[in-house]
Amino acid sequence: MTISEHHKRLLDRHTSRRRILKTGAALGIAPMLPVGAATTRAQEQITIDYWNWWDVYRVELMDGIIAQFQIDNPGIVVNNVPQTWDRRDEVVTTALSGGEPPEVIMASRQEIVRFADAGAVAPISKYVEADAIDLTRYYDSEIASMWWKDQIYSLPMPTAGGETGLTFYSKDQFTAAGLDPETPPTTWAELDTAAAALTKRTEDGAIDVMGASLDFSAGGYLANLYVNAGTLYSEDLRTVAFNSEQGVQTLQWMLDFAENHYGGYQNMLDFDLQFTEGQQPLLMGPVAHQYQNVSMFFHIEQNDPGFNYGVGYRPYNSDNPNAKFQGVAGLTFGWGYIIPSGLDPAVEEAAWKFVKRITYEDVGACSFMQSQLRPSPLQDCNSSTVFSESNPHWDKVLGALESDVPVGIVPPQSQVFSVLTEYLELAAFGEVDAQGAIDEAAAESQAMLDEYWGTQA
């Protein structure tokens, strides 16, 4: 998505400035305070139900931030309501359409655009302007994801970037395969060589060790498309653009990769089936080189702190002179915090204050990410030495975030992804060739775009 004029005006209004992280005191004190410790009289109290998916150990961290927020904002009580992932779409949709939505909902990037387009969430542009929110603090790719049609609807947290750009690999496996453990593959050709050396298959062709992971979903395909200088849509989001030469070439490369190294897509599916959700095949050994987002650092720390690993960038197609390494932000991942439309103005303002706390203010936004050793969408938060001292690969993380390009999406995005994924799978099963799959997917996606934009006239 291009940054709108309004967005630019807001960006220009404020000069960029470094913020000092103020985490220790707040997080040290906050967990000792009971959530809901509002000190104001009950009749003046505004209660914010905050639905989010920061579960398990993050609940306590979030409770700490909420406790501090309530001290700083007497009269506002925030109920931290972590939800389960099960049937998330249904839960959020029902909450919004049911007439009594929670005041703040953690929403995916796709949802933000879809809900904003439907008028179900309140734009926060006026608050951003009134509170002089410095949007230049955010990575451009991060904040761009929060806009829809000249209005901003949320502020980001955590990063949508760093999602597709990073690769993690086992140095031990690289060494055992005769590869240089300090030099991860940077191009498709190098990845081919590495995968050939790292992959181990049984006599019957099944995969024992997958040299390099490959994702045939729409998100996986598009991440590869962008390192082959392709794009999903045109700048104005009205035309499908993945049916380009690069689009077909990318899919063909993926098909060849799957066939040459793994004996086809079905072998890959059989291999994946061995692992349950939450398991980390890279740490367990069966995967040697894996695309993974920044949460991997945490998984390694939790499951196998001694794991000997390296971090690289997603290999790009060096045969294409226009191609280079770049990640995509907000295409398949990305979160913001929406305020449903139609709230009482005082409640809406209280909700905004809380959204600002967890997405913009150091004591909430920076500290919450820092506690998880995850990067923040706020650039200055990531300059803390806490990160660089605890994570030897931090420069790679920052490099990935800086390389990320914003990718515009449309309200019927889930339908476009569904079509694209279906045709990618058909191609992977050999039911249709790369050209045919991309052509068919593009034709159907374009029809969806036309239908959507037709209603916007």
């Binding site: 949709t93 099944a206 599916l269």
Partner: protein
């Protein structure tokens, strides 16, 4: 009461005054039944009848559940289902296949199991409990368990088949076997119908079997000439429940396969769910729900009609 005389006589001939109007309590009593069933009635209206009727209405609109916008589109949703939705017919075919195979299989397996557990053996209660247990295991937990069972390389099922020389089958990763896998999994919970069959079996009068024994009838003969005919009301009941439930198959595909591979497990309800909650096209989803309702109703009526020929109530 208007036809009653003002006065009447008792059998003893004493004149008594007939009430000029019905006492209030009697008039209230007439409606008292509604009061007692009101909790159910209110819930039925609120959660069944009104939503169902609303779904009929919304099926003729382009209702977007998020924006709340709803415009009358006539039969456009139904036409799109038939002509425009490329996933509609695959989902119908998958669902019909599932219903056609899983329902008869479930009935035969449940009935056979009930017959076995109705015999007088040691630890009968323990066996019954064991076979019923899967029926109370949450679907999600059971589904995760079955993913391991169906694992191509190390799964329990392929290992067992390997013992008798069968090559590994790609239960969940091949479009040729994925539906069969989910059908096999559906047998996991036949404990529910088994219990109903057991209750039915125990209601068959013992003297019928004793008479058959006197006549020298074999076990097979008794099963086909006494047990099955007298069990037809129970079979009919389980058949109806099975058909209705199978048309709504959702959880296993939602969790295990997500509709894949290559849409081979994209069942009707999964397609409906994604249309409603991922795409926010609730008007179209309502049309799909109404179409499903009509099909299930038609099949149910047909089975009900056919029951006159094969269900024996005495």
């Amino acid at each position: 009461m208007s036809g009653l005389p003002v006065t009447d006589r008792t059998y003893s001939g004493a004149a008594i005054a007939a009430p000029t109007r019905t006492p209030l309590t009697w008039r209230i009593r007439k409606y008292l039944g509604f009061v007692f069933i009101s909790p159910w009635l209110i819930a039925f209206l609120a959660f069944d009848l009104i939503p169902t009727a609303s779904a009929f209405w919304y099926s003729f609109t382009d209702w977007n559940v998020i924006s709340g916008s709803s415009n009358w589109v006539g039969t456009a949703n139904y036409r799109e289902m038939i002509e425009g939705d490329r996933l509609f017919w695959p989902s119908v075919r998958n669902t019909l296949y599932y219903v056609g195979v899983s329902v008869p299989l479930g009935i035969v397996a449940g009935f056979f199991l009930a017959l076995l557990l109705n015999t007088k053996i040691r630890f009968q209660g323990a066996y019954r409990t064991l076979f019923y247990l899967p029926a109370v295991v949450p679907t999600v937990a059971a589904t995760l368990l079955w993913i391991w069972v169906f694992d191509t390389r190390n799964g329990l099922l392929n290992r067992a088949l390997g013992v008798v020389g069968v090559d590994p089958i790609r239960w969940l990763t091949s479009p040729d076997y994925s539906k069969q896998a989910l059908i096999i999994m559906s047998l996991w919970s036949i404990g529910g119908s088994m219990v109903i069959y057991l209750a039915g079996l125990q209601s068959i009068p013992e003297d019928l079997y004793e008479a058959a024994d006197v006549d020298g009838a074999s076990w097979l003969s008794k099963t086909f000439r006494i047990t099955i005919p007298l069990m037809t009301p129970t079979i009919f009941f389980n058949l109806l429940l099975g058909i209705i439930g199978s048309f709504q198959v959702f959880n296993a595909a939602f969790i295990m396969t997500g509709g894949g591979p290559v849409n081979s497990t994209r069942f009707y309800m999964l397609h409906l769910y994604e249309t409603a909650f991922q795409d926010s096209r609730m008007g179209y989803a309502c049309a799909m729900a109404v179409a499903l309702f009509m099909v299930v109703l038609a099949v149910t009526l047909f089975v009900n009609w056919s029951s006159k020929r094969w269900v024996f109530y005495s």
